[in-house]
Point group: C2
Chain length 430, copies 2
């Protein structure tokens, strides 16, 4: 009986009043009221109440078990969906054991470590699942926008023979008897792909930082949204492009994730123009307004937060570009400008760095000299450096940390909350 019935999703039931349907999902709630029981089933689209009468009343099942209910869809004003199921049969598909914490209340009452230890369960809570639906939209929008501009999606290796940032903080592995590293960024490779004639490329992939930080801002493995493009006229172009990309990403979230944003009570900011400050200007503001002396030419995390507050107060923007970092605080491939500065920028979002970017050196001799000045052995970077002998156009790019962007947009206290299975100095599981 009913064996040929296909599954109907909770949300689709509203269109099937009067029909017999099969619903499958997780048991969110069970209530028994004398001769009648109510069972709320949750699936990926929402939840539906099943009414159990007669023989079915008093049906015993643990919440979070997987269940199937077959019944007639009827209209009701008792549920927010506007329909419920008059059940004809109920069947436990897979039973649940005792839960370490409750996931069916309005809020999950468990600490972050507990939530992360039991990720499969914590994700059953719709507020937590919402984070990952929004993260997926951000990434999709990033690629959609760039593909629309003719950028090509590239795939570059994460097992590499040299770190792109000069060798510190890399994870080491044994590659068939040779020493190899996990890529800290696709920096060299994305530049090489620009030079290969693809010109405008992007990559979405994991990057690895063996940093011993244990802060709310750091992950040792995270998703980097990388962009690199050739034939740029200046590094300002890169900031313009990033502004447009972020604008599109936020608009897509507003459009696709209405439910999730409502649940999380998040208003997505409208990005117009993003204010810019040079590092020098930022230091002056910190000195004059906040009496803070920063080490010349860089902002620490306290400085970043103060500048973010200043920009928010004076312009209303959650974002600010900090530009023209001095050479000593940027990697060897950064294009210098005048007075020991570089054509580089960071983007702060609510006081957190979510992007580094800039123009790169495209001439062989200048690049080789820059490696030497940083005390790096050119021979170790031969494959990358040789690229620059074969005609590389002026180019630059940037990278957005996806988890940081998600966390800041959603007001999460810790970037780990935006990673399904975060890796940090203490955490290698689940």
């Amino acid at each position: 009986m009913y064996t040929n019935l296909k599954r109907t999703l909770a949300k689709e039931c509203v269109k099937k009043v009067g029909e017999t349907v099969k619903v499958q999902g997780w048991v969110k709630k069970v209530r028994h009221l004398g001769n009648i029981s109510f069972l709320v089933i949750r699936d990926r689209t929402g939840e539906i109440q099943c009414v159990l009468e007669g023989e079915l009343a008093g049906f015993i099942v643990e919440t979070e078990s997987v269940i199937e209910a077959i019944g007639e869809v009827v209209s009701t004003n008792q549920t927010s969906l506007g329909v419920e199921l008059l059940s004809k049969s109920v069947k436990v598909m897979n039973k649940n054991s005792l839960l370490p914490f409750e996931v069916n209340k309005k809020e999950v009452k468990a600490g972050l470590e507990n939530l992360l230890n039991h990720r499969v369960l914590s994700l059953r809570h719709e507020k937590i699942a919402s984070i990952f639906k929004i993260k997926a939209t951000l990434e999709e929008a990033f690629r959609e926008y760039l593909t629309g501009l003719g950028f090509i999606r590239i795939f570059t290796p994460k097992i590499v023979s040299q770190g792109a940032e000069g060798g510190a903080n890399v994870f080491t592995l044994n590659y068939f008897g040779k020493e190899a590293f996990l890529a800290q960024s696709p920096q060299f490779y994305k530049q090489m792909m620009v030079a290969s004639g693809l010109e405008c490329v992007f990559e979405i992939g994991a990057v690895y930082r063996a940093e011993e930080h244990n802060s709310s801002r750091h992950l040792n493995e995270y998703i980097s949204l990388d962009v690199e493009l050739g034939f740029i006229e200046g590094f300002e172009e890169l900031m313009e492009l990033e502004t447009e990309v972020l604008k599109y990403m936020f608009e897509k979230v507003k459009e696709k994730n209405k439910n999730e944003l409502n649940l999380l009570k998040i208003e997505v900011p409208i990005i117009t123009e993003i204010p810019k400050l040079t590092v020098h200007e930022a230091s002056e503001i910190l000195k004059k307004r906040y009496k803070k002396e920063m080490s010349e030419g860089d902002l620490n995390s306290e400085g970043e937060k103060l500048i973010a507050n200043y920009i928010k107060e004076t312009t209303g923007s959650d974002f600010v570009f900090i530009t023209e970092y001095p050479r000593e605080s940027r990697p060897m491939y950064t294009m210098p400008s005048e007075n020991g500065l570089t054509k580089s920028f960071d983007l702060l979002y609510k006081g957190l760095e979510i992007t580094s970017g800039g123009e790169r050196i495209h001439e062989y001799e200048m690049l080789a000299a820059s490696f030497r000045e940083k005390g790096l052995n050119e021979e170790n970077f031969e494959n990358y450096l040789n690229t620059f002998k074969y005609g590389v156009p002026p180019h630059g790019g940037f990278a957005i940390g996806l988890e940081r962007l998600t966390a800041k947009l959603l007001g999460l206290m810790n970037v780990r909350e935006a990673s399904a299975f975060p890796r940090d100095i203490n955490r290698l599981t689940p």
Copy 2:
């Protein structure tokens, strides 16, 4: 003069007859004919011929240098584009040194190792660049199709505490003093994300196999297109979904990559239904028709090729699903069926396995027993196994090897040709 002129791409020049434009790209060819020189500039959209007269004639530049030409677009019947540039100025933006091989002939005459050693150069050849444009479309179409069905894109860690296939062939790394591994597949994590209530998920990411093969079919790092979904009614559903996904991917390539397909002289097959054979049926065919005795219940690579030929001859299909592998040849999470077989399948494309898939075990006790039968210590897989205590629905999935799919579609002899920077037992650079 002209400093405010924005760059015009080669292909866009056809719409700008009579206008003065700035073109930037790589020098493909230079010819001098007395008082006139011809310079062909290639950019990411195509190529345009620049006519150099008067003072500009005789302009000396190495091919593959980066160049800028400003001039008037005029109609001509001398070029396939239908226009050329009457140059007013030419400027070398970055010069090229001597090339290790020629990239501007109809074919690149260099061996695979040489091409891979100089990837930036070999990609300058439009036939080679075409491979990566098509690969990008395949991946984009994969995600587009699944997103359309409501699947959520997930990101799972590649640094893991256990290999998903039972521990062999994994790369080992030092993770802050602990032993860790590079993920062979996102298998455990994608199942966990189904169980988390997201139900239908996909992932696009690198996977790592420390296999010492050195064949035309193997890469040690490759891109896996992973799918996993809950509440399936049988493993046949998975093969249907994969058929639809592949159909969409191939249609998108036909639509978006006309130029590239023309260049490579590839006709994309129309996928209708994909034939299915059980492993047992395949073995019988090998025995009767080809006098080959295979070890019971699995096909080796010779067997896969013969079966592919047989299916091509008898049905015209380049694809064939091989189903119901015996338990001993499948991983511990595979759902058993009767007679020691499993609800599993492989997909062969032109005789090469491009997919493994199947239904997974969703009940804790059955799964724990399966681990034990395979001689695996349950305690080492605690995080994964515990998931199954909390109500996991029937589910299954599959994974497509992106480089293998690309290579077979484009008739490439070696899967390394479909990887920009392949990693194999000998190759860790560039």
